[in-house]
Assembly symmetry: C2
Homo-oligomer: 254 residues x 2
Amino acid sequence: MTQAGSRTFALVVEYDGAFTHGMQRQSGLPTVAGALDLALSTLLGQDIQVVVAGRTDAGVHARGQVVSFRTAALIDLRRMPVALSGMLRESHIAVLRAVERDADFSARRSALARTYRYRILNRLAPSPLERGRVFHVGARLDVEAMKAGAAMLVGEHDFAAFCASVPAGVVTRRTMTSLAVERDGDMIDIWLTADSFLHHMVRIIVGTLVEIGRGRREAGDIARLLVPATRSDAGFTAPAHALYLERVHYAEPL
Amino acid sequence: MTQAGSRTFALVVEYDGAFTHGMQRQSGLPTVAGALDLALSTLLGQDIQVVVAGRTDAGVHARGQVVSFRTAALIDLRRMPVALSGMLRESHIAVLRAVERDADFSARRSALARTYRYRILNRLAPSPLERGRVFHVGARLDVEAMKAGAAMLVGEHDFAAFCASVPAGVVTRRTMTSLAVERDGDMIDIWLTADSFLHHMVRIIVGTLVEIGRGRREAGDIARLLVPATRSDAGFTAPAHALYLERVHYAEPL
């Protein structure tokens, strides 16, 4: 329902997931979408409800979340990041870029893929400076075994075993474009790109890879989980606070 | 005063400066040294007062602070980081490594040099995920000019202009071994290594370099500040929360 004279805009958004109850609107709880709706409605003087690219869970961070909205109001794209970031400061949300898109652009429907990063601190001592930012695993992880397991997840598969709860009728096939496990000193970064992700899919994949890294599960075990299998066959759900939505991919980059 | 049978130990320590009132003991205020004294005294069952390598100001973080102490108590060096980090968790302090040194080792007197890092986020929007970790400068900084200014600070100079307050009789000559300004995307990291640093010296150097980066001061101006000059000739004091004590250097690396 494009109004006469209305234009479509996209925002690239960063936030600290510790301060929100997830991306989606919930009555009474602070959410990123709710905070953006309020700031945009105040700034533009009309009711705005943003469309969200990635429905991040409570506690999950974003460096490159994308939202879109339509408005006929006059918009100064250059001023928008600073103005909105100032309004959203106490919500721990910042707007990094604002761009205009074609009328039929939707942050969700137009997205071709999403890239998430999961950060593991793998050393004996925890890190006060990275608290709430990384998942601390004291036992030494075998990154080569984790890489072997990760490689088997790349491609088109039925990821039902890596989904917290599958609603009736939901297709659980997804295409994992890339899944990289990288060690840099004490940090292990896991980068995942797929067309879209099921509920808790990244965190269950990470939990399963950590079990492989600790030697509690064979890398080859992954093949059995893609038969498909059920949730209880896969590993634990890694904590939300070490997960970052890094980037949403579109035909025309933002 | 080495006791019979006592041995000397060094700890490498990380902490979040937001939660302390600096490194040095102050009655009634939480300090890193005070918290370490208490944890070690509890663990070892005797009164311990640590010697500190770098006297960081309130708000300044550390990834590689070093402290030393002597004890005749039995110590399990392998268990110590986990045990102490657990006790110090609510103080936002972690012990990364514990090693034994020669009897005459002192974290302060034996230190040959200190390396600090200062982190500047140079983009329009602030970063919720790096809040309290970086100094946000919205205006584009000219890193080449900052590098030119930084190069003039390397070597042995009288840094009196870069000292918050010079107590009577204190020598203000220091040797800056290296001073690197590096841009990586929106982040500018300034790395400084010197034999030792005067009060607020890193933060005044950074403030002066930021003024150069903003075009408010010529890079060549640095020469005039090393004549020497007085505090009011140099730039502003950059905030503490973006400064990190990264490493203390000894003849034998820790």
